[in-house]
Each structure stands twice: as structure tokens, then as C-alpha cells.
Symmetry: C2
């Protein structure tokens, strides 16, 4: 039976059998939001790598190198994971190599999944349309913060559960909890998140504009999907073709 | 600074530094509820052991042997973890050796904590009174289900967060989420839990009476505490003495 599960942190991923599932990587502040925005803005591809060292191996002018650790751009890199670094002007036609504290780590731990896609509030409807059209189980993988649960990733997982409810009845306890939290918070996500310890940590980084940007819904119409180690655009056309099963 | 954290499953416990904290073991259906009820009913002590084999080593008439796996009493044992096996008639003055699928495992993973106590809706106020009187950080450890998140343990953790809010401001994201879920569910816990996958699993075990029993609040006035490998009663007198710091 088709399942819809939420894994609150990559530290729990070994408990799930994802071999036949679509895994959605969620790292709202800010990796998955920036990836969605960058791909939607025409980045040719985003290559997620686990370490700063791997990132550095992609030298030369062919690649933009992006590295974030502890919420900051790693010294010497073009940029980190602020969505404002992923505008059309900066990324159109470019290849980006990206490593982040939580998001890209979560992705690398999911490599045995049937498919890996990237989700954020920015591409919520495109993502849900795609997932609805697939006859696969879905695991929503929250990147969390250093292995721990965080609220913002959970709220987005809850938003997706809420969208997919009619298609998939078999939802785990984590999915139920995430959906309830989302329903409670959805009218003012920013306000709800002010309570969160992670938000406080992020506020110290002085990225309020990034936070508000990442909480916008549906400013992107595409879904990044991992193919041959590279995230590329799956367009609405591709998505609806998949839905029709053609 | 004093912290109040919620760990959703023992699989995440290695991420927390508990050496200077009080860990509260929570396994609402049913180990922690039954332990609270048994201790309150005068059980001399409850010895939690990790495996069925260890349990069997306590032979002879001196001990009641209790073993639960997959929600059922293990064949050949006196009883499992139904609270109805922990009445005064059955347990007063007795030593019980207990092993369960999730609860006793969580306890054994917490042995480096400063103190380990047991929490359930049955002793909620006694537990919160005790925790308020201590100047320690608190980790609420949900036993979950085979390493995964479950709703009922989370709701109780949320109830405790809600009680301790004024004493401890430093609450992690998991604690915030648990409290929000509790506030949403508290008027009818049983109804809220009907949505839960774990409840469906428990319904199959035909333990509806146990479930309703375990959702009662404050029918016990004591807190079980681990001392020298044995859970024993910490009475309200002890608790208030601790609060006064005498």
C-alpha cells in the first residue's frame, strides 16, 4: 500500500525503507528553497556535494561554487545558500556546486531512493502536482538542524501531507503531527516560527529577508529532481506528462 | 542555562548531552503508565531489563516477571505491560522484573543521565511538581515505536512542557511542537489519537480499555525514580522536600 511518511531528521532515515519511494528533501532555511529558486531561474544544474573539499574540486570558470556552514558562506566561496544568490542574473545557464550544513547531507543519505526531488514553500504546488501523479510511496525528509527536529521543515512537510491527503490515506504519526502543526500555523507562518529556537539562531545570522523570502508560496513552477548526481529542472510539462502516464 | 528538551525517539538520544539532566522516560501505551501505576500501588521495586533473557534470570518466587514484545505478553511470563496487571492486589510489596519493546530500552539508553524518572498522564502533576523543584535541565524522552516518532508520547511530553513553561524558558523546537499538539488535543486526547497509526496498531491488540486507562490524569501521586538499577517510589513528601531544598 502506498505510504506517506515524514522523517523528522536524517538521523532517523535508516529506519525507513526508501528503495521504492520518492524522497522529498526539505531544508526550508535555506538550502531547499534556494535550490528550487535557482533551478526555476534557469540554473543548468546544481551539483550537491557533501563536503567543502569536494566542492573545491570543481575549479575553473565553468562552475559557481556555493558552500554554507553554520549558516554562513564559507570563506573564499562565490556564495552560500541565501536565495538572493540564486536570481536569474546570477545563475541562468550556470552549473552550481553546492554544499550545506544540513540539506545536501540529507540528500546524500537518500541516494538509494527511487527518486529524489527538492521541496520548499516556493514550489509547493508544483511538487504536490508531481507527487500526486506518481504511484509511489513518498517520504518527506526534513533536513532538521544537525540531526535534530526543526519546526520550519516540519511545517512544510505538513503542508505537503495536507495536499496529498486524498491521494494517500496511509500517513504515519509524524505526518499526522506535521499536518496538524501546519494547519495551526498556516495563516501566519512567520509568526508561528518566531517561537522556534532555530529561528532565534537564524535571527542572529541577520537573515530576516531570507526567512520571509523562503516562506512565500508558489513563486516557482518547477521541481528539481536528481539525475546522475545533478539536480535539474523537471518542468510542469514533464510533470503533467508523468501524471498522464505517457 | 537550564534547558527543556523533547527527544522524539531513543534513536535520536545520542545527539543530546544528558549527563547533567533529568531524563523522563515516556511510553504512554503502556510501559511508563503501568510502571507509575504499579509503583503507586506499592510495588517494592520494578527492575527494568533490556532483554527477555535477562528477565528470566530473576527466577524463583521472589519476583514477578513481566515481559512484553510487539504489544503482547511473552509466552510463559506472569504478565506484560497492561496497567490492569499492576493493581494493589497483584503488586503490593512485590518486586517486578520488566522488559518491554520500547520503554525499558529507552531507559537503558539513558543511564548516563543525572537522574531517570518515569512519566505518564497518570502521575503528571506529581512529575511536574518534582521537575519544577529541581534546578536541572530536563529531557523528555519519548520511547516511540521501534525508533520512530509516535503521537501519544509526544502529547504527554507536550503536557509537561506546558506545565514547566514558566520555570524553563529555554525550550527546543521539538518541545514547542509537542506543546502545540498537546494544546490542540487536550480536550479529547482519545479522539485525537484515533488518527494515529500507532493507535490503529494498538486497536488490533484489543486493548481499548488499557488505552483509556492510560489517558487518565493524576490518579497517581508518586514519581518512580531509578536507583541502583531499580525503580522505586519517590513520594510527594520526598518531592516537596526536594523542592524546599532540604
Amino acid at each position: 500500500m502506498r505510504k506517506l511518511e515524514v522523517c523528522f531528521t536524517p538521523a532517523l532515515l535508516p529506519l525507513y525503507d526508501i528503495r521504492d519511494s520518492i524522497v522529498v528533501i526539505i531544508d526550508i532555511f535555506r538550502a531547499s528553497s534556494s535550490i528550487c529558486y535557482g533551478i526555476d531561474n534557469g540554473a543548468e544544474g546544481i551539483i550537491p556535494v557533501a563536503t567543502v573539499e569536494e566542492c573545491l574540486q570543481y575549479g575553473g570558470s565553468d562552475f559557481l561554487l556555493a558552500a554554507e556552514r553554520e549558516g554562513k558562506v564559507v570563506e573564499g566561496f562565490d556564495f552560500g545558500n541565501s536565495p538572493f544568490s540564486y536570481t536569474i542574473e546570477k545563475v541562468k545557464g550556470k552549473q552550481i556546486v553546492l554544499t550545506t550544513t544540513n540539506g545536501t547531507q540529507a540528500l546524500h543519505q537518500s541516494l538509494q531512493a527511487d527518486k529524489i526531488v527538492i521541496g520548499s514553500f516556493l514550489n509547493k504546488t508544483a511538487l504536490c502536482d508531481y507527487l500526486q501523479g506518481q504511484q509511489k510511496s513518498v517520504l518527506l525528509l526534513c533536513a532538521g538542524w544537525k540531526g535534530m527536529f526543526n519546526l520550519e521543515d516540519t511545517l512544510f512537510a505538513g503542508a505537503v501531507v495536507n495536499c496529498l491527503r486524498e491521494d494517500i490515506q496511509n500517513v504515519d504519526d509524524a505526518g499526522i503531527a506535521a499536518e496538524e502543526l501546519y494547519l495551526m500555523a498556516k495563516d501566519d507562518l512567520r509568526d508561528f516560527l518566531r517561537k522556534s529556537s532555530h529561528s532565534i539562531r537564524l535571527e542572529k545570522l541577520n537573515i530576516e529577508e531570507d526567512i520571509c523570502f523562503c516562506l512565500q508560496t508558489d513563486i516557482c513552477t518547477s521541481v528539481p529532481i536528481l539525475e546522475n548526481g545533478r539536480l535539474r529542472k523537471m518542468t510542469p510539462t514533464t510533470i503533467s506528462r508523468v501524471r498522464r502516464g505517457s
